[in-house]
Each structure stands twice: as C-alpha cells, then as structure tokens.
C-alpha cells in the first residue's frame, strides 16, 4: 500500500499560532495534495504540489515537498478557530488513476 501517514495524529494550538503537519509516503508520485475535512463533512481540496515543485503557497497555507525523503509538510499560519478540522495528504501513483490518502492530522485551534 502506498498509503501515506500524517504526523502528528492530533495537534492542539492557540488561535494565532502556526500549525505544521507532516506527511510521508512510500512510492514515486506525480503530485501530492492536501485536503481538509470538517467533522461530519466530505473532504475539501486545499492545495496541490507537483513532484517537480519544492514549495507552494496559497493564502495562509504553505506546502513543501521533498521527493528525496518522500515527505511533505503543510503549514497554516496565523491559525483561526475555523481552521479546526482534520487534514489529509493524498498522493497519486505515477501513471495511475488511484489516489492514496493518509490517516490524517486532527487540528484543534483554541480561541
């Protein structure tokens, strides 16, 4: 299985702090994506980073990718209570149409 793993499994921070979560995966990829899931809802796409990119920004999100270490990180800056959710990384297999999701990081932002 190419399922990724997020670290930490759970993270609790104060509003205004930065939150960093990490994802590791097992095989070569075309791209890596991060998704967010609010309790009881479906996943929402946040950002995609391609295998030839090292860093990408979108608003308060910063994603890095290190293909040599098969790892990625998601940084949420200046967190808000509304950022409370679970965050998942997802990878595709090169040439494949299947996506592999990690086990997720549960983020709690305390007002």
């Amino acid at each position: 299985s190419q399922q990724g793993e997020e670290d930490p499994q759970a993270l609790s921070i104060q509003e205004g702090e930065n939150a960093t979560m990490n994802c590791s995966y097992k095989t070569s990829i075309n791209n890596l994506q991060w998704y967010r899931q609010n309790s009881g809802r479906g996943l929402v796409h946040l950002i995609l980073i391609r295998s030839n990119e090292r860093e990408k920004h979108s608003g308060r999100l910063r994603v890095t990718l290190d293909t040599s270490k098969k790892s990625s990180s998601l940084l949420i800056t200046a967190s808000r209570a509304a950022d409370t959710a679970s965050y998942f990384c997802a990878t595709d297999a090169k040439g494949g149409n299947q996506f592999y999701f990690g086990t997720g990081t549960s983020l709690t932002v305390i007002p």
């Binding site: 075309n30 479906g42 995609l48 149409n97 299947q98 996506f99």
Partner: protein, 114 residues
C-alpha cells in the same frame, strides 16, 4: 461541491442484505471514485471509474461491486453486507487539467450493518 450528491445519506441494514449506494454528478466528469473512511485508516479506495462501463478495483474492493451505466451515476453495491462494512462512504469526482488534478467529494453516506 462540483454538484455531487449521494443517496441515501444514512442507512441501517442487517447482515446479509444487499445494499446499493448512489453517487450522482451534474458536471459530466470522466472519473468517479468510491472511498470508505474508518477511524485510524483515513480514506481507502474501493473502486473507481474512468468512463461509462469502465471500472477498476481499488485497495479494499473485496465484498463490493460497482456499476456505471451513464456518466452521471456511479453505484456501489454491497452484495451481502457484513458488520465490517459499517463505515462512512464517500464518492468523489476528479477534475483534471493542465494545472490542477483535484478530487471533489460528496457529503458521504453513513452505513451501519447490524
């Protein structure tokens, strides 16, 4: 949400009964996916479709079958439900392009097998 609906949203059934979940999209995307989500496992792919009548197995396909007779509908069938299939099931469509390759998820179906 890319016009994705799932039905039913909740279902309770008994072991051994057949169950069919429906995913409907309004935007004619080629790729559709069925995942299950369980605590400690994240999302795991059951089956996916890359066109009408074109489907393939995912990571956890045993005990499940799918059908796609038209672009907008992707059905997931549990031929004989077991308690281990109690889960939340998500359907997704995939939008591909030069810049992005993104999945959009439906709201989920919570299935309980007693």
């Amino acid at each position: 949400d890319a016009g994705i609906t799932q039905s039913p949203r909740h279902k309770v059934t008994e072991t051994g009964t057949p169950v069919t979940l429906r995913c409907h999209q309004t935007e004619n995307h080629r790729y559709m996916y069925w995942y299950r989500q369980d605590p400690g496992h994240g999302l795991r792919l059951i089956h996916y479709s890359y066109g009408v009548k074109d489907t393939d197995k995912g990571e956890v396909s045993d005990g499940y079958s799918v059908s796609r007779s038209k672009t907008e509908d992707f059905l997931l069938t549990l031929e004989s439900a077991t308690s281990s299939q109690t889960s939340v099931y998500f359907c997704a469509i995939r939008k591909t392009g030069l810049v992005n390759d993104t999945q959009y998820f439906g709201p989920g179906t919570r299935l309980t097998v007693l």
